[in-house]
Amino acid sequence: MKNIEEILSLLEKNAKLTAAEIAVMTDSPIAEVEKIIADLEAQHIILGYGALVNWEKTTASPVTALIEVRVTPQRGQGFDNIAQRIYRHSQVQSCYLMSGGFDLMVIIEDKSLKEVAMFVSEKIAPLESVISTQTHFILKKYKMNGTEFASKDEDNREAIVL
């Protein structure tokens, strides 16, 4: 179990690690690591392998918005049904059920402010169970998934320290 958690956190940090490298780093047989990873994929615990991208440095620079959505839960369905109707749109990057002042946190990525605004007004706000929405645009990303975007990579230590 400890091994599984360690492998997950290693891959979460760097999906490029090979099973052979993980085997050496965790002092486990390579066959065991391969099996654990295959099992985790089969159980949909590992859902995919992605890169952490700082889009702001590219010409694409999509906009990201956090949308607070208040909804009326449905009998027998709770929030799941309405959440599904929202998160199935391909523009929705993430969708969470929240405690507190609103119910769903919907994170949307699209090409422009206008497209996000249109999406909210056309696809989310008119839904019957949606009571209200509030859209917040992300202006700058400082840190994501544990990685600081502005941090310098250079090693400014002395050349040799004995």
């Binding site: 290693l10 490298e21 780093m25 965790t26 090693d155 002395e158 050349a159 040799i160 320290v161 004995l162």
Partner: protein, 392 residues
């Protein structure tokens, strides 16, 4: 005016570094090479500790502290030593906060050595031990520990080195540069040799928080009767990634500490106030940050040791610090040649074993206090270099 003639015999007695040329080369290439030559963490001090330092400055705490260090810090140090090693020290009289472990080594040696006193130093070891002894007029008596013994000090080696002039043994485990750790049983065997002799032990335990399963650091001061004759040196540099703050400590019997404090107060006055406030935060609240760093070192350690052994550089399993110390003699090159050529041809800096004593010949120190990406690339280049230089 011939300024050479003004130099003291003491200053002249310090031998120049065995790897000065390599030093110069590495400095020239700084920024263009992968450095696995650095004896300090690549991690930055955890933010909570840095923040405590910043807060201290904001509050205007820019004055001297008491000579021995803030009592809150000395108390936190004794609480830690009690919890970790069951060692009991009096914060008022048995702890001095020093400018890194380095100052602690210096004042310890100065406080106890008379000219001609012999000091036993197992090598390979941290470079300062021998020079500090020489500066105090002492006579270093080195013992060559061996790879086949996992670089621990053996009782028979110690017995053979002891003379009536022996006053002190300087132990540095977990070891820089070998990564060796001495177990409780191995330390006990050393203690058995000296228990009826008037000999002190200086134990440099800077890397004490960095050991890897199945090893666990044991302080020699824990062993029966040893707390009364051990000068224990600890610090924050390695465990908390605080090298640049320059803060460490020395603990020991009050008679010895009182003498050390006299030297400390005249040469240093007191350790940096900001660093002391940060160190209090480190001990009180930041132990949780040490474990993830240790685990990361452990993964890198396994990777480096595995890579070295795979390419034919025999490497004993280092269970402490953040160094691997593989044997490079299959290439037929000396340690110095190996490192100089590796630096020039493959642009990776590692340190010749001879920097840490003559018996380091045939070995190199690879520091894995560097990012996994750097380590991975360096091992690819090392393999290429070894293959090119392996006698056919």
């Amino acid at each position: 005016m011939n300024l050479e003639s003004f130099l003291s015999e003491r200053a002249k007695a310090i031998p120049p570094s065995a790897i000065r040329r390599f030093f110069d080369m590495a400095n020239e290439l700084k920024g263009q090479v992968i450095s696995l030559s650095i004896g300090e963490p690549d991690f930055v001090t955890p933010w909570g500790i840095r923040e405590a330092g910043i807060f201290s400055l904001e509050q205007g705490n820019t004055h001297y502290s008491p000579n021995q260090g803030f009592i809150e810090l000395r108390e936190a140090i004794t609480v830690y030593l009690k919890k970790r090693f069951k060692l009991s020290y009096q914060p008022k009289s048995e702890v001095i906060v020093t400018v890194g472990g380095s100052e602690a080594i210096d004042i310890a040696v100065r406080a106890v050595l008379n000219p001609g006193d012999e000091v036993i130093i197992p090598e390979p070891c941290f470079v300062a031990y021998k020079s500090c002894v020489l500066m105090s007029g002492g006579v270093p008596v080195t013992i060559a520990t061996r790879a086949e013994d996992n670089f621990v000090l053996l009782p028979e080696q110690l017995k053979a080195a002891i003379t009536p002039k022996t006053k002190l043994i300087m132990l540095g485990y977990p070891n820089n540069p070998t990564g060796a750790v001495m177990s409780r049983e191995q330390l006990q065997a050393v203690v058995d040799v000296i228990k009826d002799l008037p000999i002190l032990v200086m134990s440099d335990e800077l890397y004490g928080e960095l050991t890897y399963e199945p090893a666990d650091h044991c302080s020699i001061a824990e062993l029966d009767g040893m707390i009364d004759r051990t000068i224990l040196i600890g610090g924050f540099s390695k465990a908390f990634a605080m090298t640049g703050w320059r803060i460490g400590y020395v603990c020991g019997p009050d008679t010895l500490l009182a003498a050390m404090n006299k030297i400390h107060q005249y040469i240093i006055m007191s350790s940096p106030t900001t660093a002391q406030e940060a160190a209090i935060e480190a001990l009180r609240h930041s132990h949780d940050h040490v474990e993830p760093m240790r685990q990361e070192y452990n993964r890198r350690r396994r990777f480096v040791v595995h890579a070295c052994n795979e390419m034919g550089l025999a490497c004993f399993e280092p269970l402490g610090a953040f160094y691997a110390f593989p044997n490079i003699s299959i290439t037929g090159l000396s340690s110095n040649e190996f490192c100089e050529r590796f630096l020039q041809e493959e642009k990776v800096a590692i340190v010749p074993g001879t920097a840490f004593g003559e018996c380091g010949e045939g070995f190199v120190r690879i520091s894995y206090a560097s990012s996994m990406d750097n380590i991975r690339e360096a091992m690819v280049r090392l393999k290429r270099f070894v293959e090119r230089n392996r006698p056919k």
